[in-house]
Amino acid sequence: MRHWSEEDPWADDDPGPLVRPYTVTRGRTSSARPGLELISLISTVRPPTRDQRLQPEQNRLLALCRTPTALVEVAARLDLPVAVVRVLLDDLLDHQLVSVSPPSAVGSTDARFIQAVIDGIRRL
């Protein structure tokens, strides 16, 4: 009986990639930045400077997120897996080209918040 780690190059101290490394991410895989949920809103803060060399997907992301857009919707609209978008965002966050909505605004389950959702859906 062989354990998969015997033949797996990622197995030493890494539980393994969540997705197959993509050329888009230059082989990097998600570092799962905390506070980056499926429904976190991503907003473009400013355009990149000329010396910031971005990938085409990152430029598309910046164009899309001029309107704040949830992480999961960025993935759907760029036709990339969520894990790949997380990697693309890593650089953009480092360069402060995008912002992420604060954790307190994401998936709150307090009563006032839920009441606001109820009222909003009633009015639809």
Partner: protein
């Protein structure tokens, strides 16, 4: 670079707008995507996630895990209730081998609608089990295909072994008003749960 507006029809949102998540679970073909589309402001969007199955723990034999890559699709839709409040509805298959995805999906969710089809009620059993065990509030939406809802509510409740407090709403997943009533039944149930919690701490 060209900064053309990607979606000029969209409401201007605040970058710090609050976002909420509601789940839609149930067996294959029960109407999850239809329901999400009926209440969302856009056609349901879709992402395909690649997952290595080693993380699923599909194999119970100790130490034996195989890594294969699987694609799982999830649908979602958006409802902008105000520039400061947006709700996302996520539909994903309620099948045992996808539960690892549901763990992720259910983090921070308000609750779940479990869609049921009376012709094959058993297809929603795994979803009901999942939300019960995780203590995630849920409501049952019985999707009445072509008005076929001759079953008695009490019979469905008994078949699903539902607690008396779990809302059960007959619905048409294609109809916006009908879908609203299911979602509202869920959210009111969530509110009642919070009230009970609050009174228990006093």
């Amino acid at each position: 670079m060209a900064y053309a507006d990607s979606d000029p029809g969209r409401t201007a949102l605040a970058p710090d707008a609050a976002t909420a998540k509601i789940l839609v679970a149930g067996g294959f073909g029960v109407g999850k995507t239809t329901l999400v589309g009926a209440i969302s402001e856009t056609e349901p969007l879709r992402t395909e996630e690649l997952i290595t199955e080693a993380s699923v723990g599909i194999d119970d034999l100790a130490g034996v895990e195989r890594k294969t890559t699987t694609t799982v699709a999830m649908d979602f839709g958006r409802i902008t209730l105000s520039p400061a409040l947006i709700v996302y509805l996520f539909g994903a298959p309620g099948q045992d081998r996808f539960w690892f995805m549901w763990d992720d999906l259910s983090r921070g969710a308000l609750g779940a609608v479990v869609l049921a089809d009376t012709r094959r009620l058993e297809s929603c059993f795994p979803s009901v089990d999942f939300f019960e065990h995780r203590g995630i509030p849920f409501a049952i939406g019985v999707n009445c295909f072509d008005g076929r809802c001759e079953e008695d509510e009490d019979e469905i409740r008994a078949a699903l072994d539902l607690g008396p407090d779990v809302p059960l709403v007959l619905c048409d997943a294609r109809d916006r008003e009908s879908v609203k009533s299911v979602v509202l039944a869920l959210l009111e149930h969530v509110m009642r749960g919070l009230a009970v919690e609050a009174s228990a701490t006093w």
